[in-house]
């Protein structure tokens, strides 16, 4: 019988009511009296030298209050990068300045040049058009291979060869890996592209700066996944505002998917302008602007080699990757192709030797940073594609070759050769579940039926693992992170017994207000609606590192549980006083404290009241009040894993691929709200299938113009592009090192699904007599049709 509340219940989301009635509070819904509007003039060329910026005509246009250019920020810092990578030779990465507004040069289409503040958006835009910018265009550096060829222009003087870093991992294994590949029974090689994507949360970015002259406090309202991180980065490194004079509010946020983690220039511009001009300043991105300013995702070019013995056992993996950084280093960009990527290259397997070389490249394109999965989809895609190719080359069934190499359920904890140690997992178990729910046994009949209609049916399968619950601070500090990655929470019990939780995690679609309440309700034996979750405001919550890397419940939830445990411990002492019993004899269950072996009891509400009305209370030994804060720093990553299967039909005459079914068997450890978990997987699958079949940020190789820069060109998955999904999370090996035993579920779908889709299309073509080894994503009808033609 499913539970109807608490941990494990599919509680309906409390957030939904405001979103369904139009009463949400998104940043663009906020309007402050006297508000002015900012319009940002941006570079229309990918690369050029700024000769002059003449704002005189614009400054005298109607409604214009002020115009900012790079010179206004000469004395302040640039946008900081939060992660430093070291190259194989020990040198730190090249870290060129990232100015708030361009100075000297523009380096990508969309690079901000000037900001106009006016009484209306129309006036600001009109004035921006009157700014005279003289730019001498330079050759655009677009293609990564060309960028590092030695003959390209330099995006930054500090990196004349356009190389940000040259990273090797595990460097000590390099020679052993080379030797293993040289002497292997069989080596499968695959060159592939992990296509560049645009995150495209449906809410474009918005920033509103406000300044209180009386208190000297600046407030920024922004569409962020982590308001405290923005406060820290912008306050300390860009504008020099101490944290006690800077409040950052991220109210309802309409999706993030990674691209709203980062600190953007417009946040600093609005905050700066609000103080300089002493009036509220609002900037709202339009979608075209989002395409050329939001950090993009993925964009790797990789060669992977897999060495196998005669039984198909993996001996070694070697990869060579070019990873696009774009024109500037976004907040966490350097970590994505390195530590979030190389550490996953062992996958679910017992491969003893791994070596990854990653060269990060500057180009005249918008910055590339974390997008749902961030490094882990790139690792999973190359690994699960090369395994499929190896299975085909060696004549081994694709499920069987994976099973032979899986880490066994009895081998945990498992130390991989790529630094991370998996705590728990059951990869055979999730594969068994997948085969059951996806009805592999019936595939032959379905394939025959497709064939009767002239369609080629294919079945693609893969496993995946991800490192989530980011992250142990001491470990990531050694790896180059310039921040800790703990989370914090304050649990406040009100005098009348209700509970308010202030969490540093941020919800922008994940439903924390519901799930976090379920956990507290379970712990305190109270109805969920007695719990309130507060997030997204640095003035109302303690420190927070925010939401990304599937970390909210695993890290933020753990901080909340630790704070709640402190509450219960204190409440037990109060209860022991009220019941005149030893605290060691006090038990707490279903919201009631009792003394073991007696009929004495006192309910939680009475204890809470006593804490705030301490008339009968041991004031000499216990402080009044019932409020506790905890900081939780995880001791390890969590390792969600699973097995996915996709069935496609390919029309050999047109190259059109239809996804007929998608099955996902995931192990997320314990699950708090199954309905929400399944929804997270659905959304991840849609983004993964979108990457595999439709989406691509395409730059013109000569001019550096983004060709797929709107929803007319960038093929977002629509309702009629996708099937119903069949998802299962009944395989559960709880995480051993966090109090809830949870692993995280937000990114799994996007990480695990691209290889299954491509494996399925290759299977359809191969079994249909077309000898196609690989097609680069997105598998558009054009690409599939051409692959069929060139194979026949």
């Amino acid at each position: 019988m499913p539970k109807d509340s608490g941990i494990g219940a599919s509680s309906k989301r409390r957030e939904d009511v405001r979103f369904l009635t139009g009463t949400g509070n998104y940043t663009d819904d906020i309007n402050i009296a006297g508000q002015h509007y900012m319009y940002v003039l941006r570079s229309q060329v990918a690369h050029g030298t700024i000769n002059s910026i003449d704002t005189s005509a614009a400054a005298s246009m109607p409604g214009v209050h002020g115009i900012l250019t790079g010179d206004d920020f000469a004395e302040v810092g640039g946008l900081p990068c939060g992660w430093q990578i070291h190259s194989r030779d020990g040198e730190p990465m090249k870290e060129p300045a990232h100015p708030v507004l361009a100075r000297g040069k523009v380096r990508h289409v969309g690079d901000p040049i000037a900001a106009v503040i006016a009484t209306s958006l129309a006036e600001a835009r009109d004035a921006a058009e009157a700014i005279d910018v003289d730019i001498s265009e330079l050759p655009a550096v677009v293609d990564m291979k060309a960028a590092v060829s030695g003959s390209a222009a330099s995006v930054h003087e500090e990196a004349p060869d356009n190389l940000c870093y040259d990273w090797g991992f595990v460097e000590e294994n390099r020679e052993a890996v080379d030797e293993a590949i040289k002497s292997a029974h069989h080596v499968t090689t695959l060159e592939l592209v992990n296509n560049r994507l645009v995150a495209n949360p449906m809410e474009p970015r918005v920033a509103i700066g406000d300044f209180n002259r009386a208190s000297g406090e600046s407030t920024l309202y922004t569409t962020s996944q982590n308001p405290h991180v923005i406060r820290l980065l912008m306050g300390a490194f860009v504008l020099g505002i101490p944290e006690h004079k800077l409040r950052v509010v991220a109210p309802d946020v309409g999706g993030g998917f990674g691209t709203k983690i980062f600190h953007y220039a417009e946040e600093a511009l609005c905050t700066f302008a609000a103080k300089k001009y002493n009036l509220p300043v609002k900037w709202t991105s339009d979608r075209s602007e989002a395409f050329i300013t939001d950090a993009h995702g993925r964009d790797h070019v990789t060669k992977i080699e897999l060495a196998l013995d005669e039984n198909g056992m993996f001996q070694a993996i070697r990869t060579d990757t070019l990873a696009n950084m774009g024109a500037y280093l976004s907040t966490f960009a350097p970590s994505v192709p390195t530590w979030l990527h190389g550490t996953l290259m062992a996958g679910n397997y017992k491969t003893p030797l791994v070596y990854c070389n990653v060269k990060a490249v500057f180009t005249n394109t918008v910055a590339v940073d974390a997008y749902r999965g961030a490094g882990r989809p790139e690792a999973t895609f190359q690994l699960e594609r090369v395994i499929d190719k190896a299975a085909r080359e060696m004549g081994i069934d694709p499920v069987e070759i994976r099973r032979r190499n899986f880490i066994g359920a009895d081998e945990f904890p498992y130390q991989t050769p790529v630094a991370v140690a998996y705590d728990t997992g059951d990869y055979h178990g999730t594969m068994d579940k997948l085969i059951e729910i996806a009805d592999f046994a019936g595939f032959a009949a379905r394939k025959a039926e497709s064939a009767s209609r002239g369609k080629l049916r294919g079945l693609g399968v893969n496993a995946y693992i991800e490192a989530c619950g980011i992250a142990p601070s001491n470990l990531v500090g050694q790896l180059g992170a310039r921040a800790g990655l703990f989370e914090s929470a304050t649990v406040r019990v009100n005098a009348a017994g209700g509970i308010v939780v202030m969490t540093g995690s941020h919800s922008h679609g994940q439903g924390h207000e519901t799930t976090f309440s379920q956990v507290i309700a379970e712990m305190f034996g109270m109805p969920e609606d007695m719990v309130e979750i507060v997030h997204g405001d640095t003035a109302r919550t303690p420190m927070g590192m925010g939401t990304y890397g599937s970390r909210s419940l695993a890290v933020g939830g753990s901080a909340m549980v630790r704070a709640a445990e402190k509450i219960i411990a204190k409440a037990k002492r109060i209860a022991s006083h009220l019941m005149e019993a030893s605290v060691d004899d006090v038990e707490f269950k279903d919201g009631v404290f009792s003394v073991a072996g007696t009929d004495k009891n006192v309910d939680f509400g009475s204890v809470a009241l006593a804490a705030y009305v301490p008339h009968n209370y041991p004031l000499e030994s216990i402080e009044p009040g019932l409020e506790e804060t905890a900081f939780y720093d995880p001791s390890n990553f969590t390792y969600p894993a699973g097995a996915y299967a996709c069935e496609v039909e390919v029309d050999p005459d047109t190259g059109v691929v239809e996804v007929c079914s998608f099955h996902a068997a995931d192990d997320f450890g314990n699950v708090v709200n199954p309905m929400i978990v399944e929804g997270q997987v659905h959304g991840g699958l849609a983004q993964g299938i979108g990457q595999a079949l439709r989406e691509a940020a395409i730059y013109d190789p000569e001019t550096g113009q983004l060709l797929s820069g709107s929803y007319m060109d960038y093929a977002m998955p629509r309702a009629d592009d996708l099937p119903m999904f069949d998802v299962d999370h009944s395989s559960q090996t709880p995480c051993t090192h966090n109090p809830l035993g949870v692993k995280g579920c937000g990114e799994a779908g996007a990480i695990g699904s691209p290889p299954s889709v491509v494996n399925a299309v290759i299977d359809a073509l191969q079994s249909g007599g077309h000898d196609v080894a690989h097609i680069d994503m997105p598998l558009t009808p054009n690409r599939v049709w051409h692959a069929i033609q060139s194979a026949s």
């Binding site: 979103f19 139009g22 009463t23 474009p204 999706g255 679609g509 929804g679 709107s710 998955p717």
Partner: protein, 162 residues
């Protein structure tokens, strides 16, 4: 500036607008109903869908002046008279048909329009009707389920809960 008047969610509103003012800007900024959202600038995403004289319309593709004298319904006008969620809204909550909530107003308005025209749509008909509404969170699975469920409820049928 021309003056426009319309009836929005049963209330008469009017205002002076520039000729270039879009209906969505009139709704959001002039009359302060911020439930209708703007997600793109090419008429593709559908976050701004409202009903104008009973038809679903992308409010970013219509001038406020063109809606002069019209009956307009926005997401704020979709709840029952007692404030409880309407059938389509309730189905979205019951089936977890929304996550971040940003596309949701447009989805609900498009779904209501579909069900006005077709009381018993197939799954494929629902998916095709949603062509002009983009959601990045849900993968559409639960939106489609919610709309099929709402259709059944409006036909007086009971369907098993999850």
């Amino acid at each position: 500036m021309p003056s426009v008047s319309m009836n929005v969610n049963g209330r008469s509103v009017s205002g002076d607008v520039e000729g270039r003012t879009l209906l969505v800007d009139f709704i959001r900024q002039h009359i302060g109903l911020t439930g209708t959202h703007v997600g793109c600038d090419t008429g593709q995403c559908g976050a701004c869908v409202v009903h104008v004289n009973g038809d679903s319309v992308k409010a970013c593709n219509m001038l406020a002046a063109a809606a002069d004298g019209s009956e307009v319904t926005t997401i704020e006008g979709m709840a029952n008279a007692d404030g409880t969620l309407g059938v389509v809204q309730q189905a979205f909550q019951d089936h977890h048909g929304l996550q971040c909530g940003f596309c949701t107003p447009g989805m609900v308005m498009t779904a209501a329009d579909l069900l006005n025209r077709n009381a018993n749509p197939t799954e494929q008909e629902v998916r095709e009707y949603l062509e002009g509404n983009i959601c990045r969170c849900t993968g559409y699975h639960n939106i489609v389920k919610a709309i099929l469920s709402a259709a059944a409820t409006m036909r007086g049928e009971q369907i098993a809960a999850e």
